[in-house]
Amino acid sequence: MGEIMDAQTIIARRVALELRQGMLVNLGIGIPTLIANYVPEGLHVFFQSENGLIGTGPIPEQGLEHPLLTDAGGRPISALPGACTFDSATSFGLIRGGHVDMTVLGGLQVDGEGHLANWMIPGKMVPGMGGAMDLVTGARRVVVAMQHVAKGKSKIVKKCTLPLTSARVIDLVVTEMAVIGFPGGRATLIETAPGVSVADVVSNTEAELIVPAAVPAMAI
């Protein structure tokens, strides 16, 4: 792992394989943002920025930024032909109403039952949930893109100790080591990253992991 690609690139490339033709996709801040760089050739997807835009394009060339065209982090973006804008109530109507086909978010913890915690560390860091709670509750498909381990501790835990983002079970976690799903609400190993063994994944995962007889490698 990491010989050819760094962790973030592995994650972004693998999540990009979840994109399907015509999807409306919301990408969270951080690793998820990178996914826009790896949309498979010939696939058209709509990216939503929850501050009020569908049709987000790449970062504009220097000198072509517009101060009133930014992503949810306040950074300049561009708008593709066919883009459209709307207010925050409409933006979250789209999100909560199931019109967003997939959201990709960062995570602090995902637990063995598929619950996500990603918005606060009590007593330490209380940034707020922003749009995350609505996204996890309302998007048709929720993918978490995060590193497998932080500061020597697995981020895929038995039970979230941090406050949950939603009671809803997420669909997929993609890390630099593995793809994990939650059929029936139980963490299940789906793929391993290139050069990573099943044993590597298991030993770096605090949650109990169902391991099928054959686990394919990520096709990135």
Binding site: G74, S88, I95, G131, D134, T137, T165
Partner: protein, 215 residues
């Protein structure tokens, strides 16, 4: 609608007022009104806004000078001063999911008592709220939000107060323009009546109480 100077507009706002402020990370925020609020040193404000922006920008200007007693927002993580004030209990912070915040403000402006949202069910956001089950699904009853003032920034404003917004600067401005007793507006461009086509007006003129003159 009356046209006023920025000084006059802000002079109307008393210490301790509740204020909705448009903008998302400062984009679409009424910067001139925020500068003037800081200059006039209004204190003990209750602010309802999406976020605390950054130090020195947007609502961050009011955080810098500790003018906010209570902030209702969805996110303050990019403003370390706001984090410090919250931790030190110098500023009370109510964190609200962004979609819930938008709906609560919209409800306040549309005469609804509240909405039922699935967002927050099974999380700490539930605390103190009524949970209502409908057709086997649980929802939180989230109540309407209103304020004494709404400070709005538009792209175009015409002489009757009709407003339109540009790109991602629309965000919370239109819902807030309906949800306050007094609505004060700044505009990038003030234009004659008729320049904004009827179908492109987002905030109807009769909602606007004061338009701040440019210059």
């Amino acid at each position: 609608m009356k046209v006023v100077s920025v000084e006059h507009a802000v002079a109307m706002i008393p210490d301790g007022a509740s204020i909705m402020i448009g903008g998302f990370m400062g984009v679409g925020a009424p910067e001139r009104l925020l500068d003037e609020l800081a200059r006039q040193g209004k204190s003990g404000l209750t602010v309802i806004a999406n976020d605390a922006c950054l130090p020195g920008k947007g609502i961050g200007k009011l955080v810098d000078s500790a003018q906010i007693a209570r902030l209702t927002a969805s996110h303050i993580g990019l403003n370390p001063i706001a984090q410090q004030q919250m931790m030190a209990e110098k500023m009370a912070v109510d964190l609200v999911p962004q979609g819930t915040l938008a709906e609560r403000i919209r409800a306040g402006g549309c005469g609804l008592g509240g909405v039922l949202t699935p967002t927050g069910v099974g999380t700490v956001v539930e605390a103190g709220k009524r949970k209502i089950d409908l057709d086997g699904k649980s929802y939180l009853l989230e109540t309407a939000l209103r304020a004494d003032f709404a400070l709005i920034h538009s792209f175009l404003a015409d002489y009757q107060g009709n407003l339109s917004y540009a790109l991602t600067a629309r965000n919370f401005n239109p819902v807030m323009a309906m949800a306050a007793d007094t609505v004060i507006v700044t505009a990038e461009n003030i234009v004659p009546v008729g320049v904004i086509a009827p179908d492109h007006v987002v905030t109807p003129g009769p909602l606007v109480d004061y338009l701040v003159a440019n210059g």
